[in-house]
């Protein structure tokens, strides 16, 4: 490796992830040397117990703040402890830690403010439901319309940010379904966003938070707030 080692924090938000959290962290530790921090978002299952018994570095939020609040805690931690980069990694095992180096390398070489791990930059074998792919296509079009940015996988939570974006997120981050809204906000502030191809596997355990009713709320909330972010 050339140049000084950059300090990288992997943020793993976990809400009731007893089925997969240990496996996710073990896999991460096996493939990388990066620091990580699990943010236990007020889980009511055995997540906390498992984290403790396995001696996994984590913070426990006393109440459930939702995905946005949990991830933001990680960004605050990273900003406060002087990390150069912060990566978001899902606790359910969908994100492959083998792709981490790729994300780090891309952000270091491009100097972008954020690099998103995308399932669609090249054929990655991703098979989601038709509804999900339609949703992703819709958000992709929305972002393109609002910002001119071409993002193939705007709902991907597998993303790395540099110091500038980290500090902004530490202070301002949406509460629920933050991925798309954040991109519009970043584009408005003139931040640079890039994508790099990653593989995603089906979740290891737990259940997806997206139900038919919620997906309608999701689409509407994200659309309205993306429009708002465009102006405020």
């Amino acid at each position: 490796m050339c140049g000084p080692m950059k300090r990288i924090l992997v943020i793993i938000p976990a809400y009731n992830e007893e089925a997969s959290i240990i496996q996710t962290v073990t896999r991460l530790a096996a493939y990388t040397q990066y620091d990580y921090l699990v943010v236990n978002d007020g889980s009511t299952d055995r997540t906390e117990e498992l984290l403790r018994s396995h001696g996994i570095r984590h913070v426990r939020l006393p109440v459930n703040l939702g995905i946005g609040g949990a991830v933001q805690t990680g960004y605050q931690y990273a900003a406060r402890h002087g990390y150069d980069y912060a990566v978001q990694l899902d606790a359910d095992g969908q994100h492959d830690p083998k792709d981490l180096d790729k994300l780090v390398k891309t952000i270091e070489e491009s100097g972008a403010d954020m690099v998103i791990g995308s399932r669609f930059v090249e054929e990655s074998g991703y098979r989601g439901s038709a509804a999900r792919r339609l949703g992703i296509y819709y958000f992709s079009a929305l972002i393109r319309l609002l910002t001119g940015l071409v993002i193939t996988d705007p709902t991907s939570g597998y993303r790395i940010v540099g110091r500038r974006a980290m500090e902004r997120f530490a202070y301002r981050y949406p509460g629920d379904y933050p991925e798309v809204e954040v991109l519009v906000d970043m584009a408005r502030c003139g931040y640079r966003v890039q994508e790099v191809s990653v593989r995603m596997s089906p979740r290891q355990g737990g259940s997806s938070s997206i139900t038919p009713f919620r997906s309608v709320y999701y689409m509407m909330k994200v659309t309205v707030f993306s429009l708002l972010r465009k102006v405020v």
Binding site: R57, V59, R60, P62, L65, Q76, G82, G175
Partner: protein
């Protein structure tokens, strides 16, 4: 002053007294108290000014004067609701920040405990096993420096 107007004024005054009682018992914080005092005061004024309102309604083309009062009251209540929503949002945001800060600080405290000798959570930091070593113990100072570096 006819009977209905007297009744209105009395009801409005009653409400004013109720608000005053709440403030006296410190049920509201200053901003909220001020808001309610203003609203109660407006109620009393409205009740007292019924003849004026009658003329005003006629001028703006409202045939049935109480409608004017309803319209005004509706906007007053709507504004109040919006102010409450704004307050609630602000408090939620503050609470979120407090929760996040608390979680990170607790982790840092636990790291420190571990560092000064594997003290268990819930026990006071002073006088425990970790502090038995004198402060000038070079090994301990070294570990503390290391810690300072990794938590900075």
């Amino acid at each position: 002053m006819d009977r209905i107007q007297m009744l209105s004024v009395m009801l409005a005054l009653l409400f004013f007294i109720l608000v005053f009682g709440f403030i006296k018992r410190q049920r509201f914080r200053e901003r909220q108290a001020f808001l309610w005092i203003m609203l109660a005061g407006a109620g009393v004024l409205t009740a007292a000014a019924i003849p004026v309102l009658n003329r005003a309604a006629e001028k703006v083309g409202i045939a049935y004067m109480p409608t004017l009062i309803f319209v005004l009251a509706f906007f007053a209540v709507l504004t109040l609701l919006m102010l409450h929503s704004a307050t609630l949002s602000r408090e939620q945001e503050r609470l979120k920040l407090v929760v996040q800060e608390l979680a990170v600080l607790r982790q840092e405290v636990e790291d420190m405990r571990e560092l000064i000798g594997g003290q268990e959570a819930g026990k006071p930091l002073t006088g425990g096993a970790g502090l038995r070593k004198p402060a000038h113990d070079p090994a301990r100072i070294h570990t503390l420096r290391e810690a300072g570096r990794s938590t900075e």
